[in-house]
Amino acid sequence: MASLVRSWIPLLILQSFLVAVAFGSKEAEQFSEALLLKPLPDRKVLAHFHFENRAPPSNSHGRHHHLFPKAISQLVQKFRVKEMELSFTQGRWNHEHWGGFDPLSSMNAKPVGVELWAVFDVPQSQVDTSWKNLTHALSGLFCASINFLESSTSYAAPTWGFGTNSDKLRYGSLPREAVCTENLTPWLKLLPCRDKDGISALMNRPSVYRGFYHSQRLHLSTVESGQEGLGSGIVLEQTLTVVLQPETTSVETNMQPSWSLSSLFGRKVVGSCVLAKSSNVYLQLEGRLGHESKNVDTEIEAHKLWKNADFDLSLKPDRVLRESSGLLFIFDIDKSSDSEPFDLGLNWKLPSKWSCQQAPLQASRFLMGSGNERGAIAILLKATESQEKLPGRELTDGRCTIKANIFQIFPWYIKVYYHTLQIFVDQQQKTDSEVLKKINVSPSTDKVSSGMLEMMLELPCEVKSAAISIEYDKGFLHIDEYPPDANQGFDIPSALISFPSHHASLDFQEELSKSPLLSSFKEKSLVRSYTEVLLVPLTTPDFSMPYNVITITCTIFALYFGSLLNVLRRRIGEEERFLKSQGKKTGGVKQLLLRLTAKIRGRPIEAPSSESPAAESSFLSTKLIFKIILIAGAAAAWQYFSTDK
């Protein structure tokens, strides 16, 4: 026995060594967490949580994950998702004060409600099926009604207007979708430390949802390994962007409010998630101090930077980075512990003001017209102050131009007349050929598919404002298609305005392969902004009306047929004779009935019936007809006067 064990031991050692080699040779799964904090010019604070999880390429089937969420990898495998983004947002991104030309806003300023887009790696004919199955799977995973996007009336297949050129792309959004704790819970469950440890422990639900804006985003993309036999790797990026209002005690209105993590979230970070490769907190200060000193000794200067006349930080940053537009303080939270929690605070000493870089044009969208029949949608692009300074202008035929893409989905009950498209540049109407470079329209089909409009505008650089308007008729829905709160109106999803020749990126001039957050900022991202959701009131029926109609019709029919049968079948003469013969024996009910009928006919009960029944009935009918005509006349007159009002 002992010899057997002895002979096994080297084998075991060899095996474990082999396993180690096999693991070592492969790239391991990586998880990293980061939190970016950024004071905003309008006395608010932006907190951007960023989690990245990478699964390296490996043999696809039956694979085991250490950190990567199994649910997501199964999703990717089953539906062959190449790239996908899902966002849950409430609140509207304030482009003017929170920025419109940095990677943060172009990636995290999302339309209200749920937005989902996905690119599939399947044959063209199966894309729609994959999309439908994906929406259902996601709705189960994230506790939301994403499955409403499965119907062909709610999604579209943008060709170039969305920024990703692929014919296997599907896009849909649900503006009315609520976003709350139940959506965050499953999202957090995808993280290896959930919300128990690390940066995600900060996410106190009431603080997050009290904010002015919160957007929870999940972006996944597959990375082709390029090797034979290996599947593709997956990069899962989860971000939560919150704009919070720090509580302030100072009365001075121009003074920025001081804050700390515990005052913003009511919680502190007690150590990083041990499974994370890196866990950092960044503090970005924009637009200020960047110009003050350029080539000073970093050690002394760093100290100056985090405690100076303007503000001081409660913790010493590990590093300070500079960018053209501001400063970035980096903190490593590995050092924090239960006894010494990480509670970064920013204390302003002097009033300060700065502004954010804005997109070349600021977009807003509104409805025109009145009534329940028709209207028009207008998109207004206004030049921002920073427009002149921005790069990305193009010279076409010697003219300086700005390109703007507009992508818009119309639900089928908004029947858009594309020929009514009008474009105004600086209040002057332009013909299509002057400014419209490209246009792609796919009209809607009633109850089958939604309409889509993609436009590329080429505007002169010195443009002050540009407006696009398009007219529509409102359609009628079937009574079953109205939602329970139809009187609230119907939402038109946000339009997406993107600037294809403008790209936002932040480059902190350092070797930053370590930090996924900063490297994602470094990548050039398309500058884009979403417009408001529009609320269109449609003609809604009075939903109790069918019941009223049914009940009244039934009553009238019952009365009509009942009395008709009565008249046809009843032999009055016989009855009266019978009653007379009965004398006073008649019961109370019958007496009452008799009296009633007598009263209706307008003659005494005991009157002898000398006339023949026929004559009586004809006399009765003329009288009755006269009465009916009188009443009908009165009713008609009443109706005439009432409708006249």
């Binding site: 409430q90 439908k132 199955n133 259902h136 799977a137 709705s139 189960g140 995973l141 506790c143 939301a144 009604s145 499955n147 409403f148 499965e150 009315r176 979708e177 609520a178 976003v179 709350c180 704790t181 139940e182 819970t185 499953p186 919300d195 639900r205 009431p206 997050v208 949802y209 009290r210 109205y482 939602p483 329970p484 709160d485 939903f543 009244i552 009238i556 009365l559 009509y560 009296r595 009633l596 009263k599 209706i600 009916i628 009443i631 009908a632 009165a634 009713a635 008609a636 009443w638 109706q639």
Partner: protein, 384 residues
């Protein structure tokens, strides 16, 4: 020979009848709030209170189907974002950090509800949205909303009729989707919803009889609306004193309802349910307490099964604390502004009835009625 066949027949019939006495395998809960709009906050609070209770008593999230017709927690009108309270003391946030809502908003329809019960889904519907019960499952079905005589309204737009419910339950029974089903309904005239039930092993309890309303318990002036209904409030009062190891019986739960406090009469329909209620622990439906099957071979240490199985039918914890509980409740009653929210249907009927009783001159009424009817006929015909 005859005797033998008889015995065999008997055996067979016994075996057949005991075919459905399968072992209790798991517990499921379907919790439905059918009301939309902010002023129906209390219905969502009711449902979430039950959700919290069944979760506390051991039913995991994946076996709870939670249907909420509106978003109250992150509603713009909610002063307390991501929080829902069922008491004005705000001690307990029902929404918590780990709530999972399976059907919400526009998804809460009669169709989806019946689909969940009967298990007839589209292929793509994920598992988390399905009731994956089996023939050994105990299911708790809790519904709250606005209802009336033999119907329950869904989102003010459609109704679930008592026939629909009975048909769905019948289908569930035939498909062996449950061993025992308990239906609990908190709505006006809840008892009428059970009228059509025929399937065996179904226990039903409603908050009010036909013609009665279910009232809200109290108003929270911070939230601005009533936060809980009476029936649910007293159900929770019973459960708050229990933990997963208590063996309070269903009987003690049913006896804890006081018509004076409820302002309605709780109704139980037990004729379809064989076991004696005093012997059924509430955790049979409201929790997940599995019976452990012993194997004598290896583990012999714990044999506390017998002691565990004893069920206290005599209101275990109630008797001690019922007195002061009642007093407390009474005090609460005085303090709290009890808001009477009547069902519009019953209210209208009662009013009409009263008016009719006051009338003396029946003849004139009848005459007038006929005249009005004629007028209506004329008007409608002239309109058409």
């Amino acid at each position: 020979m005859k005797v033998l066949t008889l015995v065999m027949l008997l055996c067979y019939s016994f075996a057949f009848s005991s075919g459905d006495t399968t072992i209790h395998t798991n517990n499921w809960a379907v919790l439905v709030c059918t009301s939309r709009f902010w002023f129906n906050y209390r219905h969502m609070a009711n449902t979430l209170s039950l959700y919290r209770t069944v979760k506390r008593l051991g039913i995991p999230d994946e076996r709870i189907i939670l249907m909420l017709a509106d978003d109250m927690a992150c509603n713009a009108r909610n002063e307390y974002p991501a929080q829902v309270f069922n008491n004005e003391n705000h001690k307990l946030n029902l929404y918590g950090d780990n709530v999972e809502v399976d059907y919400r908003g526009y998804e809460v329809t009669v169709e989806n509800f019946l689909r969940v019960l009967t298990g007839r889904h589209e292929n793509a519907v994920p598992r988390s949205k399905r009731l994956l019960s089996d023939e050994g499952s105990h299911i708790l079905l809790y519904m709250t909303g606005h209802g009336g005589d033999e119907f329950l309204k869904f989102q003010d737009a459609e109704e679930l009729q008592s026939h629909d419910l009975a048909d769905a339950v019948k289908q569930m029974k035939e498909k062996r989707r449950f061993k025992e089903l308990m239906i609990m309904v908190d709505t006006c005239q809840a008892a009428t919803l059970f009228n059509q039930l025929q399937s065996p092993d179904v226990l039903a309890i409603g908050s009010s009889l036909k013609g009665e309303n279910s009232y809200s318990h109290h108003l929270d002036s911070d939230v601005g609306v009533s936060v809980v209904d009476r029936f649910t409030y007293y159900t929770l009062a019973f459960f708050e004193r229990l933990n997963i190891y208590d063996n309070a019986s269903l009987n003690s739960l049913f006896r804890s309802y006081d018509p004076k406090l409820l302002m309605s009469t709780a109704y139980y329909r037990t004729d379809l349910y064989q076991p004696h209620l005093a012997e059924v622990p509430v955790t049979n439906f409201f929790g997940s307490v599995m019976e452990t099957l012993h194997t004598d071979s290896v583990y012999k240490a714990f044999s506390s099964k017998t002691s565990n199985n004893k069920i206290n039918s005599e209101m275990p914890l109630n008797q001690l604390s019922e007195h002061d509980e009642l007093q407390k409740a009474n005090i609460q009653n005085d303090e709290l502004k009890t808001e009477k929210q009547k069902c519009p249907y019953t209210q209208m009927r009662v009013d009409l009835h009263k008016k009719l009783e006051k009338l003396e001159n029946v003849d004139t009424v009848v005459n007038l009625g006929i005249a009005v009817m004629l007028l209506v006929v004329m008007v409608s015909s002239s309109l058409l």
